[in-house]
């Protein structure tokens, strides 16, 4: 039944509707695929029994004529989402053994629509990382390899488990989150489609917080249409999240395949960075050509404050994280290492519970919020953030969307950058801007490099205009004819 795992989400939903196979069969096929792919380390928790139980319940609902939009679709859930009764640790030792008594709004929306949970997906600890190497469970291995090489590559991060599981056909789609590129960069590294919607589209309730003003949930899938189907279910106003937007959810899948004729697409000159591989530059140009052929007008635009985005991001995100992660103190849940007194217990618990990268960011964040440094760092970064949003506002006076590369390179080898945080942070150079401005951004596979590794292009849209991204993404997907799937070696 392995062909069942190769279906797109759309095709699987159609097959279920046509009763070509049952949700139980579809789920069983995925459960087997997951078990067979442990070498990838994509899942940190497998929930096969729960999955099959949910699948049978789904088949019952369908039999009763109560099928939801995602009825019977087996999905993977990033470990950042709290799932009731199922270990939810943000891939951190400090949350070891934590099983929430509650279900995140986003996952609850998916179950409401009939989806099936296969398990929890690996990620960088607290979503801090671009290579999945900061996970307490060890890194995810990218199912893609360079041609003729057996070297393990990173799937990107932080949603590396989500991207790898989707690419390796270990689920039909996955939830992910994106604070500075954590959906889009792994999507680019694994030949999958990922969209970070407008800030406030998806509820953050029940998602372990990294940087509250930047965190946003979104899907990773194998096609633009699949991503649209998933986002439609994940999104929606939630009164339990004050930053959730009280707006209607558009029919995202209806935008896929819609003509993009007459849409104006901007190409920001500041995204042509030094040292960017020629292949990525070439792919970007190809993307421009495809959109032109589809009837778009291409406009060169300037986003002058782009170069300040990464430094601003690496002040704001750690600042918020340093406060958000203060609750992991060993007092109520997760890891506790008893010390001689209260302070000692705090110190021992947090020293043992957090990994190096998380500690680094807590230190940076604590520093930039400290008396005497607040104005110079945090406040300045907020001003930069405003300027970056203004840049986009001005650009969107003239254009409907932007086209850029997703990441400055293809997937790199595990261990390659783990000693050099700054090199690692540079992975986010094209993606952090949309988080700072709260805009929707999508990465989709558009080609491969010389060694056969997938490369992604990024589309950035106006606030709440994910629709145009699905239309433009659909057009690029069609023109690029990216059909690549990793060779199964695991």
């Amino acid at each position: 039944m392995s062909e069942l795992t190769s279906l797109t989400l759309k095709a699987a939903l159609d097959g279920l509707a046509a009763k070509s196979f049952s949700a139980a069969e579809l789920t069983q096929a995925h459960v087997e695929a997951v078990e067979a792919a442990r070498a990838l380390n994509a899942y940190v928790v497998e929930t096969p029994e729960k999955a099959l139980e949910m699948a049978r319940a789904s088949d019952d609902r369908r039999a009763r004529g109560e099928a939801g939009p995602l009825e019977g679709a087996p999905l993977g859930i990033k470990d950042l989402f709290c799932t009731e009764g199922v270990s939810s640790t943000a891939a951190s030792k400090i949350l070891g053994g934590f099983k929430p008594t509650y279900e995140s709004t986003v996952t609850a929306n998916l179950w409401r629509d009939g989806a099936v949970m296969l398990g929890k997906l690996n990620m960088d600890e607290f979503a801090m990382g671009s290579s999945n190497e900061t996970s307490a469970y060890g890194p995810v291995v990218n199912p893609w390899r360079k041609q003729g090489s057996n070297a393990d590559l990173t799937p990107g991060g932080s949603s590396g488990g989500s991207a790898a599981a989707v690419a390796a056909e270990l689920c039909l789609g996955a939830t992910a989150t994106d604070t500075g590129g954590s959906i889009r960069q792994p999507a680019a590294f694994t030949g999958t489609v990922g969209i970070k919607p407008t800030y406030g589209r998806c509820s953050r309730w029940g998602v372990v917080a990294f940087a509250s003003s930047l965190d946003q949930a979104g899907p990773i899938a194998r096609t633009v249409e699949d991503a649209a189907i998933l986002l439609k279910s994940m999104a929606g106003h939630d009164p339990k999240d004050s930053t959730s937007l009280p707006v209607e959810i558009p029919d995202f899948p209806a935008f896929v395949g819609k003509s993009v004729k007459g849409l104006k697409v901007g190409v920001p000159k500041e995204y042509r960075v030094d040292g960017m591989p020629a292949e990525i530059e070439a792919l970007w140009s190809k993307g421009v050509e495809w959109l032109k052929e589809a009837g778009c007008e291409i406009v060169e635009v300037s986003l002058p404050h782009t170069k300040y985005a990464l430094p601003a991001y690496y002040i704001i995100a750690p600042a918020e994280a340093s406060s958000n992660l203060a609750r992991y103190d060993g007092m109520r849940y997760g890891l506790r290492v008893d010390g001689a007194n209260l302070t000692d217990t705090y110190e021992k618990t947090r020293a043992e519970g957090f990994g190096t990268e998380v500690k680094r960011r807590i230190l940076i964040g604590t520093y930039v919020l400290s008396a005497g440094y607040y104005d110079a760092y945090y406040l300045k970064a907020l001003k930069v953030r405003r300027r970056i949003a203004d840049d986009f506002d001005q650009a969107f006076q003239k254009i409907d969307a932007l086209l850029t590369p997703t990441a400055p390179s293809a997937a790199f080898a595990l261990g390659d950058k783990s000693d050099d945080p700054v090199a690692m942070y540079l992975n986010d150079i094209f993606t952090v801007t949309t988080n700072l401005a709260g805009l929707p951004g999508m990465s989709l596979p558009a080609g491969v490099d010389a060694s056969g590794l997938p490369l992604g292009l990024q589309l950035i849209g106006r606030p709440l205009d994910e629709g145009s991204l699905f239309s433009l993404g659909g057009a690029i997907e069609k023109a690029a004819e990216f059909r690549g799937r990793p060779q199964k070696w695991w």
Binding site: D241, S242, T243
Partner: protein
Amino acid sequence: MSETAEKSKVIKGRTGDWEIVLGLEVHAQVASNAKLFSGAAVGFGAGPNEQVALVDAAMPGMLPVINKHCVEQAVRTGLGLKAKINHWSRFDRKNYFYPDLPPGYQISQYKDPVVGEGEVLVERDDGTAFTVRIERLHLEQDAGKSLHDQDPNATYVDLNRAGTALMEIVSMPDMRSSDEAAAYVKKLRTILVYLGTCDGDMEKGNLRADVNVSVCRPGDYEKYRETGSFSHLGTRCEIKNVNSYRFIQQAIEYEARRQIEILEEGGSISQETRLFDPGKGETRSMRSKEEAHDYRYFPDPDLLPLELDPAWVKEIEANLPELPDAKKARLQSQYGLSAYDAGVLVSEQARADFYEAAAKGRDAKLTANWVTNDLAAKLTAAGLDITESPFGPAVIAELVQLIEEGVISSKIAKDVFDRMWAGEGGPAEIVEKQGLRQVSDTGALEKIIDDLIAANPGQAAAVKEKPQAIGWFVGQVMKATQGKANPGAVNQLLKSKLGLE
């Protein structure tokens, strides 16, 4: 400021006179059924950790959502303090680690409070008044409670209070004596209770104060008020969490003398946070400025700025109750009461309401006396609140009416009142049952008086020389009638029969 008040704030030191300068931060728990950012119940008496929502325990991924009612209460309070309402305000995180603070930060308003500058008019005991400027009022969360006495080796944490809404009301340093500080807290409490925004229960800690104390030389404070520069004032120490008027006064007296002693010995005051020990009546250092936390305040990214619709604020303003100052002025003008009586009546809204209900159609001054003296004394002795009074306003009105109509004298009324308190029945009922109706029957009184004059010719002659001696005859008539004679009628008859008219 009156002369006596001027003098009372001076403390004589060995090196000259000193003055106290006081500013208060009052924490008032918002009267609300739910917490500031969660739906968990607020209430006294629940078992430990029974009133805790997921967000109060800072479970992963949980988010705060502002409770509109608490915002309304803060706005109402701001309006009651004649303060500026900020239509745009914001919540910040105050970061520090403590087990009774689950998220590791308190959500508060640091830079942009919901209420700005206002003022409170405070009456001193001598009848003079002074104004305390309010710097700001902001909303914040309370922390949970650490219980250190449950186990010798462990501290227990009760999170029922965690996340409860507090209003922090910050005054300018406008109080100059411990009496003024206590009077300010009393007045503030009265206003809050009138507004219904805080129950004012200090015993439960629902109203408590951080007291900032400094001392300066005479004249320095005036320089500060002229220039606005705090450099003219002494270094202050903050005494945390004092929760009774008496402790506030004791803490201030101790702290001011401690500071003066240090200064007179050539030392200097270091800015620090101190705790008041009610057992020893002294303050002691909690942490110095150097040990002060760096709270790393920053805007809480989980919450949107708090934007108030001006129409909503206007609506709240339109529905404000009559506040103590306005009520006092009205009681004085409408009922002709003295400032003192009016002040005593309005100090508690229920007492003023009781009074107004009783005074309807009755002698206003007489009614006020009964409410503020006899009834108040009995209630206080019994430890009862006016709302718990065994008789309602109509009963007091009935008693006053009996006096007004001459059925009983004021003196007999006191006896009637004692019997009422003892549960013997209503005023008219007791008067009838006990035969206390005063004797106004001139025929009967004339007979008694004639007999008295006849029996005491010497006394009768003396009264003609010394009219004050009539009192002896009045006393005798009262004795003969067991106090039931109408004093007016007795006086009248005596005067004519003794030839004083």
